[in-house]
Symmetry: C2
Subunit: 142 residues, 2 copies
DNA sequence: AAGGGTTATGTTACATTATAACAGATTTCA
DNA sequence: TGAAATCTGTTATAATGTAACATAACCCTT
């Protein structure tokens, strides 16, 4: 089997619970909270919050899932990027949709700033709030 | 009295509770949670969470306080920048210190990316995790 | 000054999000 | 086999954040 890099272990190494959580997140384009996941997975034997949070911890560390701090929610990664790199989300205030963006330029823009104060950056997460295209149009039209 | 711009109303327009919360945040260089504030302000008559959260809402909207999503905590702004502009924090994983950075370059790096997908950005918040200078040195020395 | 709208306040109760702690099961590998 | 490590299920509880409502203060207009 092919893996994109050392940081993303093949999905065969995921445990049953981790796979269930990941699959559920992938089946949704919107972010889900831990308790959303708990509701959807109760019939599969996941009945208590720690089961969900533990699976999420692993998936986030591995890099196949991102946590959206502003929303207390989680979303599966669509970029196969490795850990340690920048992540950028565009979160629509109106419809709640979340789009993950390539953040290459962002890293190069930010790292000099943090280095200037002697800060050793490990991970960068940016969340841009605003209105997605459709919602913006709805607003100006209506 | 002088104000830096329309978005920052003079502090005379703050209510008693809002002023108390702001002063408490300013007296600390570390971020405080809503319940930290509640503890410190109980003797001043703020006894229930809504009193704190309402004051924080106003202060954040006005732009004199920022919320750190990753920490569920609040910190007073040291930049007198106006609302709607980018904010960038360097959060040390070891000691919890938070440094607010000028984010001019960040905006220009990110806005083209969001515009490319038709997203209308309103606010940008970046949180960089890592190690601050002192903690990084401690690690390599020890 | 009296009325009426708006905003701020205090309070209770509750909702949501997250973790501590522990015991049993499973895997891994020497 | 047996010890170490990991994953698991469970209970209970901590931490964070809001809904809802009644009162009080404030600002205008009449
Ligand atoms: Zn990603
Ligand atoms: Zn939208
Ligand atoms: Zn600021
Ligand atoms: Zn530090």
């Amino acid at each position: 089997m092919t893996v994109c890099c050392d940081h993303h272990p093949p999905e065969e190494t995921l445990t049953r619970n981790q796979r269930l959580v990941l699959e559920t997140l992938r089946s949704e384009d919107k972010p889900l909270t831990a308790y959303n996941l708990l509701d959807r997975l109760r019939d599969d034997g996941l009945r208590a919050p720690p089961q969900i949070y533990r699976a999420l911890d692993r998936l986030v560390n591995v890099g196949v899932v991102h946590r959206l701090d502003r929303l207390n929610a989680f979303i599966s990664c669509n970029h196969n990027h490795c850990g340690g790199q920048g992540v950028l989300f565009a979160v629509c205030d109106a419809c709640g949709s979340v789009e993950e963006l390539k953040a290459d330029t962002v890293e190069s823009a930010i790292l000099p700033t943090t280095e200037a104060i002697g800060f050793h950056a490990v991970q960068l997460v940016g969340e841009v709030r605003g209105l997605c295209g459709p919602c913006e149009r709805k607003k100006t039209d209506g």
